[in-house]
Structure formats: C-alpha cells, structure tokens
Subunit: 359 residues, 2 copies
C-alpha cells in the first residue's frame, strides 16, 4: 500500500487535516465496511443463534491474535478489554495492594491510569517529570522508588508532553512489577512487551479501530487475582459463584464486545503498510520542526508521534479556531498547551494546514 | 404502532421465528439505521473534534434519561454500563463486603451476578429455588437470611426457570440492601425500581438495543465506593489519582460507549407501543400453553416472558434442529432444558413454527 492508497482509505482526510489520533484515530473504509456489513447481517439474520455465538468466540480468538501481534506477545497472554482505562483497572484491582505498599507513577498520566491508582489502598508517589527535560525522567522516577514500592505504573509515551518515558530502563534497573499504559504507543511506534509485566492497548487511537476496544498484556496471569470476572473468565462455576479460571490471560477478558466492533478492529489491523512507523516518525518530526519555528515547544525532538506546544493565548479557543478551518487538534486542559498527533496517514499538506490555521 | 408495523420494524422476523431475546433481542430497522448513520458520519467527518466529544456527552445524557424512564427512575440515579454483569461487578466491588459478611442469592442466577459474588470476600449463601414451585421461593430465600446478611443479590426473573422471584417482598420483609439483576425483566415486564437499592439493566435483550450497553440504578450513591473510576467518575483530579466524585450515580458510569451504540439504543427505546407488556405476556402464556400440551414444563403459568421446558432427548441437539428449521431458541447447559423468549413482536405464527420444529 502506497501513501496515495493509504490516504484514500481514510475519507476524513479528504475533508480535514485530522491530527488527533492521540484522542481517537481516523476510521478506514475497510473498518467501517466490516462493521456495517456485520450490522446489516445482524439486522436480517439476528444475533442469538448458537452458531452465531460460536462464531463470535472464533472472532474473539482472531482479534486477540491480531492485537497480540501488534505488541509481539503470545495471544494467550492477551485479554480483550474495552480500553486502556479498563486494563489499568483490571491490574490495580487484581493486585490488591495494601496500605503499606507504594506505587510509583508520574505527573503526566491520564486519568485512565490515575483513577485506578487513586482508588487503590496503596500510597501513590508521583515523580514530577512534566516540566523537566525528557533525559531527566529516569532519575526523577527512580528517585521515588523505595523499599515499599510494589508497582511502577506509567505511560510508555506521555499523552501531554509527548515524551517517551524510560519504561524499559526502569524495569531493568528496579526489577519491580511494571504496568505500562500503552495508549499512546501501540500503533504509533514499534512495541515489544517482552520483559514488562502488564501493558495496555487502546484499539481506537493509533490502531484506528472502533470505539471501546482494547487489550491487556499480562506476563504471568497467576500473579493477578480475577477481580472482575466476566463470563469469559471461567470454564465452569458453582451456584455460590466459585469458578474454575480459564487458562492464561484469557480469564481477564473484560466482557462482551459487539461483534461488529471486533470485526472492525480486525479489519483495521489488516493490511497495514510496513513503512508506517518510519513515516509517522518523519511526519511528527516535520510537524515539530515547523511548529518550533513559531511556538514554544513542549515536546522535545526525537520522541514519538505526539507534538505539543504552548498556545499563544487561550488554548481551547485556538483549538476551536483550528476546527473552524478544518484542522483537528486538541488542547490540554489546565496546561494551556495544544497537541497535534501525526500518523503514517499524515501528509505534508496536513501540517501546512495546521500552520495556516494557527496563523 | 400496530402489530404489523412492529413486525415490519424487525427484519429478522421475516426469516426466523426469533425466540431468544432472553439472550439477545432482535434489532429494529430504526436501531440499525441510527447506528449505520453515525458510523458513516464518523467515517467521513472523524471522531476526534471537541464538538464531537461535547455531542457525545449530550447523547449520554439523553440515553441515560431514556434508560431511566424504562425503570421509572430519576436519570441522576442511573449509571451507563456495558451490561448487567458490569453493573453487578460495580456494586459488589463498591460495597467491599468482608469475610464476616454474608450475601444471600439463589441457585438460578447467571454468572454475570455469580462471578462478582464469587470474588467477593463475603460468604455466599445459596437458596435452592430452582427445583421448587415458584410460590415457595420467598420462604426458601428468607430462610437463608441471618444476622450477618449484608446483601440480597438475585434476579427479578430467573433466566433458567423463567420464574418471577419475590424481590419486592424480600426487600419489604428484610429491609436489607438488595441488588436486583434485571437482565430478564427490563423491557419484558413493567419495572419500577423505587424501593430497591441497586437494579441492573441489559440494553441488548428485551430493550432490543445494540450489544454491550446497559445501566445500573443506585438509590443512594453515597453507600457505594467508586471501585472502578472511569473518566466520567470525576469532576477534577490530582496527580496521585485522588479525585472529586461527580454528582450522583453518574460517577459510576463504567466508561466510554461507542456513540453509534448510544444512538442505536436511543432509537430502540423510542416509539415503543403502549401495548408491549400486555402483548408479550399474552404471547408467553400462549407459548407455554401450547408447549405444555406436549412437554414437561419448567416454567409455571403466569410468570413473565421466558418459557422453559424439559427437552426430550439432548437439549443442545434439539436447539440445533430448531435452528435448521428457522427457529431460534436456546438450551440451558447442564439442565437439559430448552427456553423460548416471547416479546411483544412475537406472533402466533412464530409459536406454531416452534411447535413444528420440535415435532
């Protein structure tokens, strides 16, 4: 697939400079097509025959394998979830940390991770990396680790600064269990989860899947309690709710997902160009370079696919003005920052439209 | 809307005797149409502009109000969930019962409730109502209640026997907190949640909504800890994950739901015929009467809209044979029972087809 073919797959790009995959990605024709076809089939043929349920089980297996491939994990270590938030909640509830335990996180996390941390009984220690150079993150986070630390919980790529956080180095240095929020990494940059304990995947962002689909990688399912068993958690149960857990990480599947969403995600994950990561990186670099000539940048060079900068004036208003000119970016509430997301589908023209819209 | 118009709204009824709303309901044209229209709009116009997010918040409000109306609850006491299972899990995790506490349930519950009960630290006491007359259920369940009982957790209508359980009487008699699994009641029979503490709604069954949508009624949100905060749980948060809880039951919203699914559910809940409960009851009564002439019935007369009977021979095979003749029912694994679900859309012809398919 060449660039022209890629652009043609995403109709939204004909109308808009769509630079917000960090919130939610563009939809491809094949993705929407797979969803619409399933919906039409369900309208005519129903959703409730045994054969249809068995079919869904098979589809879940295929989507699990496809998601696992995006993070280079064995499929049996991947649970199907609704989101990164969902995955973080499963991990925190399953670890059941107590009042004497500590979790180390950073000040650039999304509420999808922070919420589950906040309701954990453990003490949360926050490393302040946001207003420091990216190169200092390792030392700042490492300094929060102590004898009571039971978990490191942080993003691979920060949704605000766009910086790559040293998750691999922290794991190797401390040997502690680590939960990596992969919302801004999977599909944006190459990801290999080997060596991590827990890693979340968002389906609807850089993977351009339907809303409310995601995954959770668990290296060792035995270390995690099944805190929220869905029907898929068990291979048999008693009248008092005691049950035999399913093999492997499949026991953490968080519940029923609409078959149309599963098929849409499968379509989104198929036929991706080999050159996607390289291209996304180039476009992000170009976007940053062009913005840096005019704005005070937040994101340093050589990070990932998010580019953030300090707005001149009100960020929310700048965002609305850009939208009125067909450019989709977002502001980062409370920070006065703006953020553009560049994917492999991004063109130089999109970046020029962004610059014009900010003039 | 008359019967002919209702039947025309559900294309699946032209092909199949669709008698499995107890698993998942038929889809109406208006429901699929609303979903397809949203999907097409997202394909062309994207999903990530601020205006679109604000639109989704408004849609969530409308759907919350529409779901609340189905159970005669104030909208601010209703959380949007993915399913009844999801709602049960939210309640059990939020109550945080301990090892000295007891929960009373029955032996006719679905794993969607049983799973969360099973992972609670509380002791689960199971009232054996399944093989007894419906009239004995109250005494049998009441007998399990003791000084340590902290929660009654059971279905309004049992998904296996089809019997109406005495949830109202149990609440009034004991005054104990009660979690009612409404998967087989909401949309099937008139439901008023006033007086109950927690009540779950499945959107995809008798309400004929899209997959993976539901609701949870909470009478007093202050008695429930927010065990799994989604982004919608808060009105502001700190870097360590501590947050200000949103007003009312909205804080229990379990996460992002695809806008197409919300709009599909809204369409499904609109324009329902006034005569729907009466008609569904009549059809269930007719279905039971016709089956009773040939089979050993499980479901007693004058229950709700599920009709179960003991299969002659292998139930799963009977179910497949029925499917081959265009009749969708289900078997109840481990019991050797078959179950037909009758809705207001069910015709006498559907019931005749069922009888023929079982010949």
């Amino acid at each position: 697939m060449n660039m022209e073919e890629v652009r043609a797959e995403f109709p939204v790009l004909e109308q808009l400079a769509y630079l917000n995959a960090g919130s939610i990605g563009p939809l491809a024709k094949r993705t929407a097509g797979a969803m619409a076809a399933r919906l039409a089939a369900e309208l005519e043929g129903g959703r409730g025959a045994i054969a249809q349920f068995l079919d869904v089980i098979e589809i879940r297996g295929r989507v699990r394998a496809a998601l696992a491939a995006t993070i280079h994990a064995p499929a049996e270590h991947v649970a199907l979830t609704n989101s990164t938030s969902d995955g973080c909640a499963l991990v925190l509830a399953g670890l059941g940390l107590g009042a004497g335990d500590e979790i180390v996180t950073t000040d650039v996390e999304h509420f999808g991770l922070l919420g589950p941390l906040g309701v954990s009984e453990a003490r949360v220690r926050v490393a302040n990396v946001r207003d420091r150079p990216a190169a200092e993150a390792f030392d700042v986070i490492r300094a929060e680790v102590g004898p009571r630390t039971r978990l490191l919980a942080l993003s691979h790529i920060a949704w605000t600064t766009g910086h790559v956080l040293p998750v691999r180095e922290l794991k190797e240095e401390t040997g502690l269990p680590i939960l990596v929020d992969g919302a801004q990494s999977v599909g944006a940059v190459p990801v290999r989860v080997e060596g991590f304990d827990f890693y979340t995947v968002s389906g609807q962002k850089w993977l351009c899947g339907p809303d409310a689909v995601g995954a959770l990688y668990v290296a060792d399912p035995e270390v995690l309690r099944i805190a929220r068993p869905s029907y898929f958690a068990q291979d048999g149960f008693e009248a008092d709710g005691s049950f035999t857990a399913r093999e492997g990480t499949l026991r953490f599947d968080s519940g029923w997902i609409a078959p149309a969403s599963l098929l849409g995600l499968e379509a989104a994950l198929s036929g991706l160009p080999d050159w996607r990561f390289e291209r996304a990186r180039e476009m992000a670099a170009l976007c940053r370079e062009r913005l840096a000539a005019r704005f005070d940048m937040v994101t340093e060079p050589d990070q990932a696919t998010l580019v953030s900068w300090r707005a001149e004036g009100d960020a929310a208003e700048a965002c609305v003005r850009a939208w009125e000119q067909g450019v989709v970016i977002r502001d980062l509430p409370g920070l006065g920052w703006l953020r553009a997301s560049c994917g492999y589908w991004t063109s130089e023209g999109d970046i020029e439209r962004l610059l014009s819209a900010l003039a």
